[in-house]
Symmetry: C2
Subunit: 345 residues, 2 copies
C-alpha cells in the first residue's frame, strides 16, 4: 500500500532533529526532553503521521501477529474460539490472522508455510481431521515460534495445549443417562482417529463398565463428518435395531439434533422412549425441542486461554517455558432431552 505518506524522517527534517530523537520521542523515551517530546507528538498529529509497523517489525525482527488455523470459521465452536482469541489479542496489542484448513492436511501444511514467511509471533491451531502427521509444525519449534493447540491436538509434538477432558465429560454424560434410568445406551461417535472422539467413546465405555452395563458394539455408530445428516443416518440405524436403545449419547450437538429429528418423526417420545444427549452446547441446543442435554465445551474460554498462554510464551520466549497443557473444566447442562435423575441412582 502507498505507505503512511509521512515518516519520522519528515518529522525530523521539519523540526531540525535527528530521526532517532523523533523515534524516541514517539515512544515516550524518558531520555528525551518533555518539551521536545510534546512538540514531536504535536507535529506528528498535525502532519497525520502514522507509524509503519512493517518497518518496525522488520527492524525488531518480530511481529505482533498471531496466526490462527481453524478447520472452518463458520462452525460455531471455532468462531467462538476465534472470538475469544481476538478479544485477548486485541487487549494485548496483537493482531489475529486467520486461515481455514477446511480439514485438509495439504492445506494445513501450506498454511504453516505462509505463517512462517509472514513471521507470525505465535500460532494457535486446531488440527484438520485429515491430519495424522504433524511434522509440518515442527519447524516452529526450531524457529522458537510458540505454538498452542486447542481441541484437536497432537501428542507426537512438543507443544502447549488447551483441551477439555473429553473422557471425563463423556463419562459424566453417560452416567447422567444411566442415572435417569437408561440401560441400553447407544453412542453416535466421531472419527476414531481423532483423539477427542476416541476419548469420548472411551469415557462412554468406562461409564457403562462402572455401572456393570454391557458394552454392545452394535450400539456404536460412527458419524464421520458429525453433521446433522450423519446423526440422522445413525439414528435411523439405531431405532431399527431389534433391541432399540433407550438412550443415545452423541459426540456432538449436530448429530444429536439430527437424531432427535429422526426419533420424533418415528413417533418415539424423547426422553421417555429414547433419551438423547449431545456434546458442545451449541446455541441450537436450546432451540431444538426438546432442548438438548449436552456438555458445555466452553469455546470462547478455550480461545481466551489459548491466546493468554500463547502471548505469555511469546513475551517470555527467552525464558524458554516448557510447553504446558491446560484442561478446562466442562459443565453438564441438563435439559429436556434426558429424564430426571433417580434419587437412588
Amino acid at each position: 500500500m502507498p505507505g503512511s505518506r509521512v515518516t519520522i524522517k519528515d518529522l525530523a527534517k521539519r523540526m531540525n532533529l535527528s530521526v532517532s530523537t523523533i523515534s524516541r520521542a514517539l515512544h515516550n523515551n524518558p531520555s528525551i526532553g518533555e518539551k521536545t517530546t510534546r512538540e514531536v507528538w504535536k507535529l506528528a498529529e498535525q502532519l497525520g503521521y502514522f507509524p509503519n509497523s512493517v518497518a518496525s517489525n522488520l527492524r525488531r525482527r518480530k511481529t505482533n501477529m498471531i496466526g490462527v488455523i481453524v478447520p472452518r470459521i463458520d462452525i460455531a465452536f471455532h468462531s467462538h474460539v476465534i472470538s475469544g482469541v481476538e478479544e485477548i489479542a486485541y487487549k494485548m496489542g496483537y493482531n489475529v490472522t486467520i486461515y481455514q484448513s477446511r480439514d485438509s492436511y495439504e492445506r494445513e501444511v501450506a498454511i504453516t508455510t505462509i505463517l512462517q514467511t509472514n513471521m507470525v509471533a505465535g500460532i494457535i491451531a486446531c488440527l484438520a481431521l485429515e491430519t495424522r502427521d504433524c511434522s509440518h509444525f515442527a519447524r516452529f519449534n526450531n524457529l522458537k515460534v510458540p505454538l498452542v493447540f486447542y481441541d484437536r491436538v497432537s501428542n507426537e509434538l512438543e507443544a502447549s495445549k488447551v483441551i477439555i477432558d473429553d473422557f471425563d465429560a463423556a463419562s459424566r454424560v453417560t452416567q447422567h443417562l444411566i442415572n435417569t434410568g437408561c440401560r441400553r445406551i447407544a453412542h453416535i461417535a466421531g472419527c476414531q482417529t481423532t483423539s477427542i472422539f476416541a476419548d469420548r467413546l472411551e469415557g462412554y465405555k468406562a461409564a457403562l463398565q462402572r455401572n456393570n452395563l454391557p458394552f454392545d458394539p452394535n450400539l456404536v455408530c460412527c458419524a464421520n463428518d458429525l453433521s446433522y445428516e450423519e446423526g440422522a443416518r445413525c439414528a435411523r440405524k439405531l431405532i431399527r435395531l431389534a433391541a432399540m436403545p433407550d438412550g443415545i449419547f452423541c459426540a456432538n450437538d449436530y448429530t444429536a439434533i439430527g437424531a432427535i429429528q429422526v426419533i420424533k418423526k418415528a413417533n418415539l417420545k424423547i426422553p421417555d422412549d429414547i433419551a438423547v444427549a449431545g456434546f458442545s452446547n451449541y446455541p441450537v441446543s436450546t432451540i431444538i425441542e426438546p432442548a438438548l442435554t449436552t456438555i458445555d465445551d466452553r469455546a470462547a474460554e478455550m480461545g481466551k486461554t489459548a491466546a493468554r498462554m500463547l502471548i505469555r510464551q511469546i513475551e517470555e520466549r527467552d525464558v524458554n517455558i516448557a510447553s504446558e497443557t491446560i484442561v478446562l473444566r466442562t459443565d453438564l447442562i441438563v435439559r429436556d432431552s434426558t429424564g430426571k435423575e433417580k434419587v437412588n441412582a
Copy 2:
C-alpha cells in the same frame, strides 16, 4: 520472531553470487540462467530458506493483508462472511486479519488506526451498530487503500458496497404473509438508525400499502440488539394487544425464534393463529419448530463477492476504479412457520 534464520544473503555467499541474482532466481526471473536458477532453488531448499515477507513488504511498500472488521465473529452471519472472504483471499494469495468492533464506535475507530499502521492492502468492513459518523474511514480514501463495506454500509462515504436489497426482500416476505391470508401483520424491527433495518421496515410498509392494508404503528416493535430475548419481549407485547396480529415479520431470525417460543408458550398455533417470518436463514431456522420462513441473506456469497471486489481494486489501484455497489439477489425460503399461499392472492 527470530526471523527466517537463512536469508538470500547467506545463499549469495554460499554460491558466490550477488544477492540480486539470488533474489531474481527465486522469483524465476527469466534473465537468470536456467542452471543458476535451478541451483539457487536447490540450495534454498537444502538450507531451509524461507522468504521474509515483512522485508519484502517494506521494500515493495505493500502487503498482502486484507483487514476485516466485523461486529462479532461468533454471529453466524459474520462468520459465514469471513469464511467466504478467507476462501477467496487464500486462493489469490492474500492473508486475512480480523477485528471485532463489538458494535462499538470507539473500538471501530481504534481498529482503523491499527489497520493503517499495519499497512493493509485493503479493508472489508461491516459498520458497528453504534457508528453514525464514518470519517474514520475517510483516511483510507486518501491513502488509496480500497475499502469495501458489506451489509451495514455507509452512504456518506465514497466506497464500494456489497449488500442485499433489504427493501425488496422485506417487501417480498410481507407479501408472502399477505398471500397466505394474513391481514394484521406486525413487524419486529431493528434499530432504525441502521439503514438495512430502516429499509426492512419500509419494505414491509410498502407491501402493506400495495395491498391496501393499513399501517398500524402499534404493530411495529423495536428489538434493539436483535436477540432472542428482545424478540421474545416484542412478541409478548404483540400478543397482548387487543387486536392481536395474525402474522409477524421479524427483522432477523433470532428475534423470530424468540417470538416463536413465546407464541408457542401462549398456546397459540403457528402459522394458524400467528404466522412468523424471519430474515437471514440462519442454520437454526430449520431446527426451530415450526421451521422458519425466512430470507436467505447469502452470507458466504457476500464475503466472496466483497473479497473479489476488494482484490480487484487492490490490483488495479492505478486504474482508479470508481467505487461500485453490488446488490445480491436474495431468496425467500418458505417453511412451516407461515401458511400456504392462496392461489388467487
